[in-house]
């Protein structure tokens, strides 16, 4: 068995609007690249097996479990992590929803949960409770029992659709 995995690659991404290029081992997982090379520790790691979803980030607009993707595969991609949710206008409605509805306790699953929720609402701006649960079924949380996470996503959906209406009127 070869233990020489030291072939390095250069990976360029746009993360939360900022262009970054970093060297890393070709085998480095995207989650470690984000945390250790980009220094964005809001994205967490939880299981190795794509089950828990705490590592979910947005890659070119799609939610991806970043423990299951090599950093090299993200070369040229646009990434959004939890650190990119807040804008100059303030917290994203999903962040507001999680705070207002007590959709988090220990906070460890929250970044992945919010990125997955954002993706869900982009695809389905007015989901039913069942659709929210289905949409987040790749995410695990041990604290909240999901009850208030559902409420947080409903809060965000209402807020986002209200601002859409405001924008179009």
């Amino acid at each position: 068995m070869s233990h020489d995995h030291h072939n390095m690659v250069s990976v360029s991404v746009t993360v939360n609007g900022e262009a970054r290029t970093e060297e890393c081992e070709a085998r480095m997982l995207l989650v470690h690249f984000i945390r250790e090379k980009l220094g964005l520790t809001g994205t967490h790691w939880g299981c190795d097996t794509s089950n828990c979803g705490v590592c979910v980030v947005s890659v070119d607009g799609q939610p991806v479990k970043s423990c299951t993707m090599l950093a090299a595969m993200a070369d040229g991609a646009e990434l959004t992590t939890v650190e990119g949710l807040e804008t100059a206008d303030g917290l994203h409605p999903i962040q507001q929803g999680f705070m207002e509805c007590h959709g988090l306790q220990c906070g460890f699953c929250t970044p992945g949960m919010m990125i997955a929720a954002k993706s869900l609402l982009e695809q389905n701006p007015n989901p039913t409770e069942h659709e929210i649960r289905d949409g987040l079924s790749g995410q695990l949380c041990r604290c909240t029992g999901y009850h208030n996470i559902v409420k947080a996503v409903q809060f965000a959906a209402e807020k986002m659709s209200a601002s859409q209406e405001g924008a179009s009127s």
């Binding site: 945390r35 828990c52 306790q105």
Partner: protein, 797 residues
């Protein structure tokens, strides 16, 4: 307490109890939480652990030379290395020993064998594969029921005089009284049941960064432990390090649930690694390591017997327990109680006699047992009594709600001393059960069930009524490794009236930064946004035993109230001095001392804070400033309780169980922050549904752990659980300064029995009285075929 109107601060927060958004969320929703794997120190190295592939094997040799030659490896530590330091074994919280790194044998699949320290985590993992261990495989003991067989292999042959796999026998209650009550009974129902091995599986695994300063000799240990002060003392005892030079710092913790109470071999190895390499060493376990080697929960084989009259008056209860503690007896509970608080198994009912016997045994499984929000095994106790009461209802042909209502303790019986010696502080049990039944629409559910049964559909309604004992505990009865279970609290009021409160307990998501600010606000009238809560740094917080067993609010919350009251009393002296009146002339109005009958004359707590630091001449013997300390030694546990009702639908073709509704009425006394309490209940209910339907750590014949990943150890996703219907009654604790009881584990303790009772109820047409958890589709379907499975072993005995 909560019935009077609570004033609101300028920031919109309640100055006292009430719903308030959490302070900690400001960082968490921005990804600015700071967890153990986010701790990065200059020059830090990364460690990985080589683990045993066998459940039971003798180590013939370990060759680490190839790993040591790896260009990125700094050190490889084995049991032999630790032996030279006297650290190959460490004491457990149950006065047993546990291998830090195996020297003679490995005793469970996943046991720690070698510790590699390298430049980065990938290189450390690479080097693990370069270590060559030669094992002689031995027969493992995987079935607790066979552990005491005469021909069972002796697991702990490292212990002098240990000739079998027996750990302890322990009993509570009165056997003779219980036998007499059984002799007079019309009806006796026996039921054997397993509470299978499960795992807390917090989303964040366990980890540490050890940083030994070679010059000062100071060890700084970043660690996601639930009990930083207890850990500091144990490290001092184990490693012989001077305690004043050990600082344990807890970053934000990604869930604990009891999993982060013990001291794990990886922590000790990281300390040794930092000493050896003179660099900081980080070790964070992966998910498989977490599930396979760290503190599991339960694994209780219980034989219950309940005695009653033919009209349903319960007379007595007895239970015989075989407790599987794994290869090392490492449960963390008060020393006096090797079975934790299991002897609270008499539950919420009024009867005269009870007896339990618990025997602990070694098996070739990971150590642990007290974890997963279990309140020191109240989980197992509640499951036993609530399951067997349903079995009795079935035997008598009575409705389980009616049977419970008939036997519940009545409000006038409190304080109530149970047959095994607990003194329940307060309760109104029938009110809680009635409320749950009202929310559920119990009679209508029974009608719907009858109609569905006519059509061959399987719908079940399950009830559970629980009494918890939380807030360990009175020092005269409760210690861990000799450390009494009291908690300290420091409160400092700054000259401008802002406050800092320092806690011994450690949040893992419970929201202490918010709740404890509300306690101080409630007592002193300082807005909660003006109060900083400090925890998680042993150099900067008072000593106490930490957060587990739902003890933060009952113990540390009481300390916070007491320390606030001390500040208030001192402020009264300063107010009297400033107002030139007697302290007897003053009355407290939230946030202000004022003259009785002349409320215009008064000083706010903020004004008094400044006066306390000013040149105001104070009476003789009164020191300046407005700080205080307290240590709270609880006079008793607090006893929260609740009534839960679960409604399930079972697919007769597949055995799949869907939880349709879950009604939870909790009484934890007054609620400091109702939003946080409800959130904890939601989380606990999902734990209970998970344990009842999905979660188990099982083993195959060779001792392979079959629950070693989230693909195998199944946790509920949002799809397996409903939204919850909560209710509340309020019965204050008479002995807690705020009347509050703990709640963090109530739902985890109370809910599994409701789910199982509902599933068994659904299966009534099949003449089923019991099936062991987890009620997976396979288990339910097999039960319907008349062959319920053992869920803890993946082989036929």
């Amino acid at each position: 307490m909560t019935d009077t109107a609570v004033p609101t601060s300028a920031a919109g927060n309640p100055i006292g109890f009430g719903r308030m958004l959490r302070k900690e969320d400001v960082r968490f929703v921005r990804g600015q939480g700071h967890y153990i794997d986010d701790v990065n120190l200059p020059g830090m190295l990364h460690a990985a652990i080589l683990r045993s592939p066998h459940a039971h094997a003798r180590i013939i040799s370990i060759d680490t030379s190839a790993a040591e030659a790896h260009p990125k490896v700094h050190a490889v530590i084995t049991g032999a290395v630790l032996e030279t330091l006297g650290l190959a074994w460490m004491p457990t919280m149950s006065y047993d020993t546990q291998a830090v790194l195996a020297t003679d044998k490995v005793r469970f699949h996943g046991q720690e064998v070698a510790f590699v320290i390298a430049d980065d985590r990938y290189a450390a993992r690479d080097a693990l594969e370069l270590i060559d261990v030669d094992y002689e495989v031995l027969d493992p003991v995987m079935d607790a029921k066979r552990a005491l067989d005469a021909d069972a292999p002796v697991i702990r042959d490292d212990k002098e005089g240990q000739t079998d796999n027996h750990i302890f026998d322990w009993e509570a209650g009165d056997a003779a009284d219980t036998d007499a009550a059984f002799a007079s009974a019309d009806v006796i129902v026996k039921q054997e049941m397993l509470y299978p091995r499960s795992h807390p599986a917090p989303m964040e695994t366990c980890g540490t960064v050890a940083d030994m300063n070679p010059l000062s000799g100071k060890l700084t240990l970043y660690s996601n432990t639930q009990a930083p002060h207890a850990h500091r003392t144990v490290y001092a005892m184990v490693a012989g390090l001077p305690e004043h030079l050990i600082q344990v710092i807890c970053p934000d913790i990604g869930g604990g649930f009891g999993n982060k109470v013990p001291i794990y071999p990886g922590y000790v190895c990281s300390i040794v690694g930092s000493i050896v390499t003179k660099r900081p060493v980080k070790w964070v376990e992966d998910r498989s390591e977490n599930l396979m080697s760290t503190g599991f929960a339960r694994d209780y084989h219980m034989k219950g017997e309940i005695a009653a009259t033919k009209d349903g008056k319960i007379l007595a209860l007895k239970v015989d327990v075989l407790a599987d503690h794994g290869a090392f007896n490492a449960t963390a509970q008060p020393t006096k109680y090797p079975a934790g608080f299991f002897h609270i198994f008499t539950g919420s009912y009024d009867y005269g006699a009870a007896h339990c016997k618990v025997s602990g045994v070694y098996t070739n499984k990971a150590p642990g047992g007290v974890a997963y929000a279990c309140s020191f095994r109240v989980t197992e106790a509640v499951y036993l009594v609530e399951r067997i009461v349903d079995c009795l209802a079935d035997e008598l042909g009575m409705d389980p709600a009616e049977l419970r209502m008939k036997n519940l303790l009545r409000p006038e019986q409190f304080p109530y001393t149970t047959p095994t010696g607990w003194e329940y502080d307060s309760g109104d049990y029938p009110r809680a059960l009635q409320l749950a039944m009202d929310i559920a629409g119990y009679d209508d559910l029974r009608k719907e069930q009858a109609e569905k049964r006519e059509r061959g559909e399987l719908m079940g309604i399950g009830i559970s009524f629980f009494t918890e004992g939380v807030g360990a505990g009175p020092r005269k009865h409760m210690d861990i490794l000799g450390l009494g279970m009291a908690d300290g609290c420091d409160l400092r009021i700054h000259p401008t009236g802002k406050a800092q409160i320092r806690l011994s307990v450690q949040s893992q998501g419970q929201g202490h930064e918010t709740t404890f600010a509300q306690i101080v606000a409630h007592e002193l009238g300082i807005p909660p946004e003006d109060i900083q809560v400090i925890n998680g740094d042993t150099d900067n917080t008072p000593v106490g035993l930490g957060t587990y067993g739902s003890r933060s609010t009952p113990v540390s919350g009481a300390a916070a109230a007491v320390v606030s009251q001390r500040v208030r009393e001192k402020a009264k002296i300063i107010a009297a001095t400033a107002l030139e009146c007697s302290v007897d002339d003053l009355e407290w109005e939230l946030g202000r001392w004022q003259v009785k009958g002349d409320p215009e004359q008064g000083k706010t707590i903020q004004e008094l804070a400044l006066l306390a630091h000013s040149n105001l001449e104070l009476p003789d013997g009164v020191e300046g400033h407005l700080d205080a300390q307290a240590v709270y030694n609880p006079p008793n546990l607090t006893y929260p309780f609740g009534a839960y009702i679960c409604v399930v639908d079972v697919d007769p073709g597949t055995g799949h169980v869907q939880v349709r509704r879950f009604i939870a009425v909790d009484d934890c006394g007054p609620r400091i922050n109702p939003m946080i309490v409800e959130g904890q209940v939601h989380g606990g209910l999902v734990d209970g549904i998970g344990m009842a339907l999905m979660e188990v750590i099982a083993f195959d014949k060779d001792g392979t752990n079959l629950g070693g990943s989230y693909m195998d150890y199944l946790l509920p996703t949002p799809m397996e659980v409903p939204s919850f219907e909560l209710g509340e009654t309020v019965t204050p604790s008479p002995h807690h300064p705020l009347g509050v009881k703990g709640v963090g584990e109530s739902a985890t303790v109370g809910s599994p029995a409701a789910v199982v009772n509902a599933v068994v109820d659904a299966l009534k047409p099949y003449n089923i009285r019991h099936a062991d958890m987890p009620l997976t589709p396979a288990q339910v379907w097999m039960t319907m075929q008349g062959k319920t499975l053992r869920t803890d072993l993946a082989f036929e005995d």
